[in-house]
Every structure is written in structure tokens, then in C-alpha cells.
């Protein structure tokens, strides 16, 4: 398992020409599937800045590998909709479906093999990723 905070800044390398083609800036998360669905990159060679999760060859401990830098694209409408500030999870308050605030998200633990959100880290405790329902401008919602 890997934390967002650990993986941010990790380099993205193209296995085609062995060149570094970007660095992980932020994670794009889809609450419906409870998965990381893409990576927003910085320092990319071309205009595209988003790497959709299915284009990743391997999410390694030291680098994310992809087959070719052309896989870094402009986000499609669905990814673009998730990649806005109101959908970012870090720092947001967490409300249960019982209407109780249980803390704020400090970090997110995910499975680098498939992008699954394993848990939301709230500082002193963690919440199972399968309870994650949604995130908006006001709060992250989890099943009580």
C-alpha cells in the first residue's frame, strides 16, 4: 500500500525511450469506483498533463512506468470533471452518513497495483476505503 504523500513527486518514466516524462503532482480519485483513476503530472514534455490509470504499465516504488509519452493526454470530460478542486480529498472534513464529523483527511492510502483506495487517513485514525461514498466542495462523505 502507498500513501498519496509518499507517491507525490515520484517520476514517471517512458519504457520506450527510458526518458523521464513527468512527475506525479496530484491524484484523480473517482468516489463511485473508490479508485485512483488518473494522475495529474507536472513537467511533462507535451501539452498533455494527465495520465489515465489504465495507461500505467507499472506503479513502482521508485517510478511509474508507461510505454510511451503519448499516453500522457489532455483529460477526457469524465476525468476532467473529477480533477477539480472541489473533488480533491486531502484536507477536507469527513462526515458520516449519520451526520457526524469524524475528522479531516490528512492522507490517502491506495493499492498501487489497481488504484483501489484502501483507507482515508484522518490523523489519529483511518477509515476503510470501501466506506467512501463521495467528495464535494463541502465534505468527504463516508458510510457510518
Amino acid at each position: 500500500m502507498t500513501l498519496f504523500s509518499e507517491a507525490a513527486g515520484r517520476q514517471v518514466v517512458s519504457t520506450g525511450n527510458a526518458a523521464t516524462v513527468g512527475k506525479i503532482k496530484t491524484f484523480i480519485v473517482d468516489p463511485t469506483s473508490q479508485r485512483v483513476v488518473g494522475l495529474r503530472l507536472s513537467k511533462t514534455p507535451n501539452a498533455g498533463t494527465v495520465l489515465p490509470w489504465p495507461s500505467i504499465h507499472s506503479f513502482g516504488a521508485d517510478a511509474v512506468t508507461i510505454a510511451d509519452e503519448d499516453l500522457i493526454v489532455e483529460p477526457d470530460p469524465q476525468l476532467a470533471a473529477l480533477d477539480v478542486k472541489q473533488h480533491s480529498i486531502i484536507g477536507k472534513q469527513v462526515l458520516t452518513t449519520e451526520g457526524r464529523k469524524v475528522g479531516s483527511v490528512v492522507d490517502v492510502d491506495f493499492d498501487p497495483a489497481d488504484g483501489r483506495v484502501v483507507s482515508l487517513v484522518l490523523g489519529d485514525h483511518s477509515i476503510d476505503g470501501t466506506t467512501f461514498i463521495g467528495v464535494g466542495s463541502y465534505a468527504v462523505i463516508v458510510k457510518a
Partner: protein, 197 residues
């Protein structure tokens, strides 16, 4: 588990969707029938200058009601109050709340124990009811309990007029000033008078 909440604390509580957006806030509580249950909430907008909304939130559409927020699946579930009341078979506005505040609480043996200052709502979610389980009262001097507000449990059914609320004498044995201990007091009281849920 049931959560106990003061009606006063519910006003302005944000209404938050599964999508994490605060789409409204609570304005008033609409009680059904004789004021024993919450049937709906009227809503106001979230921004400073937005007034009341034309739609309301039926209790049946509430996923969770807690100290920090009201959770709904989607704002699509908001509906005009008239439609909600018609669906629930409630006639008229059922505004028992406004009438209750300031009413004198009498025991069935004729002792005045105080004046209602707030309504205590017990919530069981999901799928449960929002039941009026007690009142916060400003105690009558004759009670000899000082001036701190006290909580008094209510039977599930009771008689009320605009002027007086009549509670069984037995309820006075469960007066407390602690909302955390009040749930147990309500249960014990309702068991004693033989109508525990």
C-alpha cells in the same frame, strides 16, 4: 443507537449530499400530527443572502441526521412542503413546535414543573424515526431544582394544547440536566409507563 438532539441546534445545520456538496441548510422543523414526530424540514439556501427555499426535505428522504450535518442522497429528493405533507397524510402545517415553546408543563396530578424552552428529538437512522422524546424546560421555582434548564422525558403519546402540556407524574422522577444521560432516562421512563419502543 439513537442520537438525541436539541431542536434549537438543528436550525442552520447544513444539508449535505452523498456528493459532498452542502446544498441547503435547515430552517424549521415540521412536526406531524400532535407534534410527536418530525415529518419534514423547511430549507434555506447556504449563502449569506439567500432566503428560504421553495422546496423542503421530507424526513423519509433523510439518510442521517447528526450533530454536524443532515445527509441526503441527492438534492433531487427535495420537494414542495405541500406535496410532502400530502404524501404523509398530514393535514395543515402541523406546526406544533412553535406552539410548544413557552407552554407550561403540568403533571397529571396538577403540579407545574416548568416552561418548555426546547424540544429534544431522538433520531434512529437509517430508516428510523425522528421522535420527540422530551422537552428542555426552565424549571418552576416550586420544583426546588434551581434555574438550570432540565430535561423531561415524554411518553410517546401525550396531550397538549397551545397552553398546557400534561405529562405523567412519573416523568418527574427522570428529570436530568445531562443530555448524554437523557436517552437512558427516556427509555427507563417509557418502560415504566409500559410503552417502550
Amino acid at each position: 443507537m439513537s442520537t438525541l438532539l436539541r431542536a434549537r441546534d438543528l436550525a442552520k445545520l447544513p444539508v449535505v449530499t452523498f456528493g459532498g456538496e452542502d446544498v441547503a441548510q435547515l430552517k424549521d422543523i415540521v412536526y406531524a400530527g400532535n407534534g410527536g414526530q418530525v415529518t419534514a424540514f423547511t430549507l434555506a439556501g447556504r449563502s449569506l443572502f439567500s432566503g428560504p427555499l421553495k422546496v423542503a426535505l421530507a424526513w423519509s428522504r433523510v439518510v442521517g441526521l447528526g450533530p454536524d450535518a443532515v445527509i441526503v442522497e441527492t438534492q433531487e429528493h427535495f420537494a414542495p412542503l405541500e406535496a410532502i405533507l400530502a404524501d404523509d397524510g398530514v393535514e395543515g402545517g402541523g406546526s406544533g413546535h412553535g406552539d410548544v415553546l413557552g407552554s407550561q408543563v403540568l403533571t397529571d396530578t396538577g403540579t407545574a414543573i416548568g416552561v418548555v424552552s426546547d424540544v429534544i428529538i431522538g433520531v434512529t437512522t437509517p430508516g428510523g424515526l425522528a421522535d420527540v422524546v422530551g422537552y428542555e424546560i426552565k424549571p418552576a421555582e416550586s420544583l426546588g431544582r434551581g434555574e438550570q434548564p432540565l430535561l423531561i422525558p415524554l411518553p410517546d403519546t401525550m396531550s397538549a394544547s397551545g397552553e398546557h402540556l400534561v405529562v405523567p407524574e412519573a416523568a418527574t422522577g427522570y428529570l436530568t440536566d445531562d443530555l448524554n444521560a437523557f436517552g437512558a432516562a427516556v427509555d427507563a421512563f417509557r418502560t415504566q409507563i409500559g410503552e417502550n419502543r
